[in-house]
Symmetry: D2
């Protein structure tokens, strides 16, 4: 049901009695038909309450403006933080890459085959290696030389190309973004790290995994924060390896889980299934 | 929170507008505090609606009788099938075994260590092999010789020992129960089959798996119905094997997933997380 | 080490004493340096013996012709069936597809990125849908309309395009090949089936999986034989699904394991890691 | 084939030509029938060579003493480090536990059911909690109060009970052993750590995993060295968790992989399948 009838309402607040009743009543009375509702409470006696509701907005009896105004009153009363995603237009995703193309390729294929319902206005890279690939898919590709010295300026330039972007995917972008840049996009930059975090954070995780002699390698998709590789984890997966695998084998085998893990995270983000709370994610998948 | 404060309400009906609102309102108005709610609709335009609600009944403003009476009116109106599990006393589980003890042992350990919050008044077997094990755990063990000729009579005898039982677990019970017996316990007999159903239904699944040369072996927990190995699947899992594994290796390795899969199914059943519909399960895990 | 120095010797015979000694001695005396040897015996007292040896042929003291002649004598004596793969030129792989492109796309990416060390002279299809994709990768694409009536003739035509092909990959080719065609390529046609065989053989496995309510879906790569979906299994994997997944979800999610399982099978075939025996595979991975 | 006919020869040396030939020849000439041979070379041009050979010693034409003497000559010549495991008597395993019984229980069940072919002369603990369990299985149980102050002395006492022990399993033994103690048993103490190492080394890994919000939890079996949780990893596995799981859920769910991972490591150790090299393991499983 990839259509513009479906809206999503995400809610986060301190738990208290009657939230489900009040919210679902509000929706029912205003003509919204709940399709899917998911709820989670950290601790029912003193905890946090999270809810995601998908509803059909076809027969809404009020305009979006009035809906929001009215719901604000309920939300204020219950001290709810909330987001409404109407889904009337596709999200716009920028992809950042360096030299390695497997994640980019995978995302583009999923996009082209209809699995990822998104617009991709731009690909940004500090290298030219993947320019042809972007062109094959008719996507604008901007190349920026990035050094320690020019990073601040270049990031400003990059931002100009992102003015209408909803979120960013770092598809093996081997640069560290500045805190300033990251703070522009809270919970809106998805990074794929090629290890099972928190193991092997930072550079060269496959080499470190080889040195340590682990029997599984992993990949982690997380929202980038200003603490490198310490942002809220969205998804992780692992793959069995053996003593026979050298660092190059790990790197090749690992690409398959990097792709799969990143694709899941992007899909959940697109479908507004993720709530970030206390540097962790609630994923209503 | 293994206490008697928590009740569960399970609901199943044709989808229509306002179910969530009406049910959650009813609970709120009568002092029930929703702790966890899960919901699923097969198809939001013409489908079936399923919901499981956990609520704290400490501050219920009405008695159970009145709660049920009042809710019946709502349910009738919305054509809802529903079950209320008060959780005030432990469920009572009978375990049926033959000669192999790994699943029994695993269940008893999980029970003794507090993981399975259940009473186990009786173990039934067509062999004496596991009698000592039952005695180690102070559980009554009844042995019944079973043959084609005496099965009907013996099942009658067995039923006498099950008069206060809530559900039955076939923990590698190698006998086929009669339709009559099974019909006493609709969606209340959990069987573990040592293959990834529907592959290798019936006898000797590991031998068949070996002959076919599969690269994974599996286990399936399902509710027993009168169609052998065709009941609603509750849980499945698999394990990697190689050409090196002979049937005996498969059997030994498979025991680990049999135990794990059965334990999950029993746990979900105990926690009223399973709804059976059209010979399939909705598991709100 | 993707170079032409490495040869592989595959051996299959009734088990008897001294095989390892005689074969390794022969290699040593003729200047072959064993890099990797794997061995497996079904039953050491009356079973079958299988061995795969990778050796560096740089310093072979004899020509290939003499090597083969001399080794034939040993092999005759020990009643060994054997194959020698010199690895001096790349294998040539034809890919057959229908309309769905995910497996083709994945194989082409792995090929282009150097993961699959193979030549792909031709793609065959009964549809035109993937022609552009093939062209993007500069691979010849032949389209053949296939019906019950013309299948025999069309297969003859197809064979003309395969004259210098080493093996065939059916990357979701939705046609059943004739026995005649299959017999041209014993253990040389790799098919990917979108279920965990032997469950859901034949058409529409995802629909069948949905109907049955399984909790895992699978994919199976096997060598095609004249018995549909009953050939020797090379690799299998599964993916967890829930009651929420409809047939279309299963189909989309399943594509990821189809790709991964097929890629592994193709890689092992390329590296001569598979021995077929009694409709099963020994995979020295 | 759990009998005393099968011996195992493990070999480790710098790679050079002819090792396989010379070793297999030696075995053949002296009447040893190779049942299974596994081999691995880190890098065939300058690397390390590892081999494990299982052979039937029934028809050995020489005594063990002469076998060892003769093989020493070959080994010296090739600079091989080697171990011969005759398998004529069962290995003797001590188990160390604290309060939690799941790993102990699992090991004892596998032992009693014949899956682990081992003798268990003694269980050591710093608590009395599992004494009854040990007694159920008729195994001697020694309790030692351990504090910072008395640790050195108590370890000396413990050692007295281990005089005829081949290896030690730390089945959730929550004490840190002294370097002195560990050095008595190089590559002979198997520890199970309840995380996916190197993530969450040290105390309270489930709490740390919960804080970090990981989507998988893990368990790691490794040989204890004097660097806490940094010894050679034998086996690892993971389990999917969600935001719903609190630390207590993680702990309960994690027990299943702790048991499975530890059991595999113990089995491989018993079958002499593990070679330790450079703080990593080669596992010929």
């Amino acid at each position: 049901m990839k259509n513009n009838k479906i809206a999503k309402l995400l809610i986060c607040c301190r738990d208290r009695k009657g939230i489900v009743a009040k919210v679902s009543n509000f929706l029912f009375k205003n003509g919204a038909n709940i399709i899917q509702s998911d709820q989670y409470t950290t601790d029912y006696q003193n905890g946090h309450f999270f809810m995601r509701i998908e509803f059909d907005q076809t027969n809404l009896s009020i305009s979006k403006q009035i809906f929001e105004k009215k719901f604000s009153l309920i939300a204020e009363n219950l001290e709810i933080k909330w987001s409404l995603y109407e889904g009337k237009k596709k999200k716009r995703m920028a992809i950042f890459v360096s030299k390695e193309g497997h994640c980019l390729f995978d995302l583009l294929w999923r996009w082209k085959s209809g699995e990822l319902d998104v617009d991709i206005p731009v690909i940004i890279s500090n290298h030219n290696d993947l320019k042809l690939l972007a062109e094959d898919f008719n996507i604008t590709y901007h190349h920026f030389n990035i050094s320690k010295e020019n990073k601040e300026d270049q990031e400003k330039e990059i931002l100009k190309h992102l003015y209408n972007i909803d979120f960013i995917v770092l598809a093996r972008y081997m640069q560290i973004l500045s805190a300033k840049f990251i703070n522009h996009y809270p919970s809106k930059i998805i990074n794929i790290h090629h290890s099972f975090l928190p193991a092997f954070a930072g550079a060269k995780p496959y080499e470190k995994a080889y040195q340590r002699g682990v029997k599984l390698i992993g990949a982690t998709a997380h929202y980038a924060t200003t603490n490198l590789d310490e942002g809220p984890i969205i998804e992780q997966d692992v793959l069995r390896v053996t003593h026979k695998d050298n660092p190059s084998d790990l790197k090749h085998k690992g690409q398959d889980i990097e792709k799969a893990v990143l694709a899941k995270a992007v899909k959940w983000h697109l479908e507004d299934r993720i709530i970030v709370h206390n540097n962790k994610t609630i994923v209503f998948s």
